[in-house]
Symmetry: C2
Subunit: 243 residues, 2 copies
C-alpha cells in the first residue's frame, strides 16, 4: 500500500531526465546546458549532485564539458565512437583477441556487400572513387595512413544507406586502428596491392557484380587478418613460415 518514497540516487534521476530531454529532441547536439550553479537551483539539489550527474552524462558521451567563461556542458552528437571504445575495452578486459574482432569484421563487411551492390548510388560510387584516388596519391607520397583505409571501408558500408551498419563498421575500425597503430604496422599493411583491391572493389560495385565484390573483399580482408594474427602472436607467424 505504501511504496518506497525514495528512488535511489538523486543524480541518477537527473541523468534520466536529461536523457529523456535528449530523446524527445528538447535538447539537441550543440545546445548548452545551464551552468552547474543554475542547475542546482532548478533541481533544488547541491552542486555535487549535479556534477555527478554531469559526470555520468559525460562518460556516456552525451555531453562535453568545457571550463572557463562561456564554458559549461554542451550536448554532443552521439557517435559510433562510443561503441567502438566499448568494444576496445571489452577486447582488453575479456579473453577476446584482435583476431576474434577481425573475424567478426570480416563476416560483417562481407555480408553487407550484397546490400552495397544493390543500393550504391552514383554519388556513393563517385565518393569511393575519390577515396581510391586519394589513397593512391598518398601511397606515392608515402603518406598513406590506416585512417584512410578505414575511411574507405566505412564509405563502402555507408553505401548500404543503413546507419546502423555504417556505425557498426565504424565501431570495428576504432579498436582496429588502435591495436594496429600501436604496433607500428601501419605502413607495410597497405601496399599498392591493397589500393589496387580497393579500386577493383569499386569497379565490381559499379558493375553490380556481387560475386566479384565478395571475392575481392575476401582476399583483401584475409591479408589484413593475416597481418593482425601475425602481429598478435609473432611466434605463430614464424611457425607457419617455417613449414
Amino acid at each position: 500500500m505504501f511504496g518506497p518514497v525514495s528512488v535511489g540516487r538523486i543524480s541518477e534521476v537527473i541523468v534520466e531526465q536529461m536523457r529523456l530531454l535528449m530523446r524527445e529532441g528538447k535538447l539537441v547536439p550543440g545546445d548548452r546546458l545551464p551552468s552547474e550553479r543554475s542547475l542546482c537551483e532548478r533541481f533544488g539539489v547541491s552542486r555535487v549532485t549535479v556534477r555527478e550527474a554531469l559526470r555520468v552524462l559525460e562518460a556516456s558521451g552525451l555531453v562535453e564539458i568545457r571550463v572557463g567563461a562561456r564554458g559549461g556542458s554542451f550536448v554532443t552528437q552521439p557517435s559510433s565512437e562510443r561503441i567502438g571504445e566499448g568494444l576496445a575495452e571489452l577486447m582488453t578486459l575479456t579473453p577476446m583477441t584482435a583476431g576474434n574482432v577481425t573475424e567478426a569484421r570480416m563476416v560483417f563487411e562481407l555480408g553487407i556487400l550484397p546490400l552495397v551492390v544493390e543500393r550504391a548510388t552514383e554519388e556513393d560510387i563517385a565518393d569511393l572513387r575519390a577515396l581510391v584516388e586519394q589513397g593512391l596519391s598518398a601511397l606515392d607520397s608515402g603518406s598513406y595512413t590506416m585512417a584512410m583505409s578505414a575511411a574507405f571501408h566505412v564509405r563502402v558500408a555507408s553505401s548500404t544507406h543503413n546507419p546502423a551498419i555504417e556505425m557498426l563498421v565504424q565501431s570495428f575500425h576504432g579498436p582496429m586502428l588502435m591495436s594496429l597503430q600501436q604496433a607500428r604496422v601501419a605502413a607495410p599493411l597497405m601496399g599498392h596491392l591493397g589500393a589496387q583491391e580497393h579500386f577493383q572493389l569499386v569497379e565490381a560495385i559499379e558493375q553490380r557484380d556481387v560475386d566479384r565484390a565478395r571475392a575481392i573483399m575476401t582476399r583483401h580482408l584475409q591479408r589484413t587478418a593475416a597481418r593482425v594474427a601475425e602481429d598478435q602472436d609473432p611466434s605463430l607467424a614464424n611457425l607457419e613460415s617455417g613449414h
Copy 2:
C-alpha cells in the same frame, strides 16, 4: 622546457589508474575496492574527487556500487550489455530505426553460419537441442518469452567459438528485446513455426549443411524483420495489406 604541471582533472587520473589496474589483471571481477574514505587517503584527494571517479567507472560498467555496511565498489565482469545499451541509445538518439538494426542483425547472423556449421561441437549442438526443447514446452504452456528466443540465437553465435561474435549478437538482442517487449508483440512473434525453424536450423548445423542453414535462418529472420517493420510503422503494414 617547462611543460604544464597539471593534466586536466584529477578524477580522470584516478579513473585511468583504475582502468590500468583492471587491464593488468591486478583488479579482477568480484574484487572490492577500498572504501571511498580509504581511497581519499591513498590518493591524497577529497572524497568528492574520488566519488566522481567512481561515477565514471560505474557509468562505464566497470564497477558496481553498493551502499551499506560491507558495501562499496566492486569490480564487475565486463559484458556485452554495455555495448547493447550503447547501441540502443544510438538508436533512440540518431536517425536509426529498429528496422536498420534488424537488417544489420540479419547480415551478421547469416554471415556467421558458415563458421557455426564448421566449428559447432557436439556439446554446442546438444545445448542447442536443449534450448529447442525448452522452447517447445514453453510454447505449449504459453510461457514462451523473447528472452528464450534471444538465448537460442546467442547460443548459435557462441558456437562459432569467437567471443567477439557472441558478444555482438548479444548486443543486438538487447535493444531488440527492448523495442519489441515494450511493443507488446512478444507472444505472437514466436509461434510454433518459429520453434520449428529453430529445430530445423539445429539439424542443418548438425549435418554441416551451410546452404540449408542459411535458407532456414533467412526465412526465420525475415519473418522477424517483417514484424519489426510492421511494429515500427503500422501504417506501412496497412498500406501493404490494402494493396
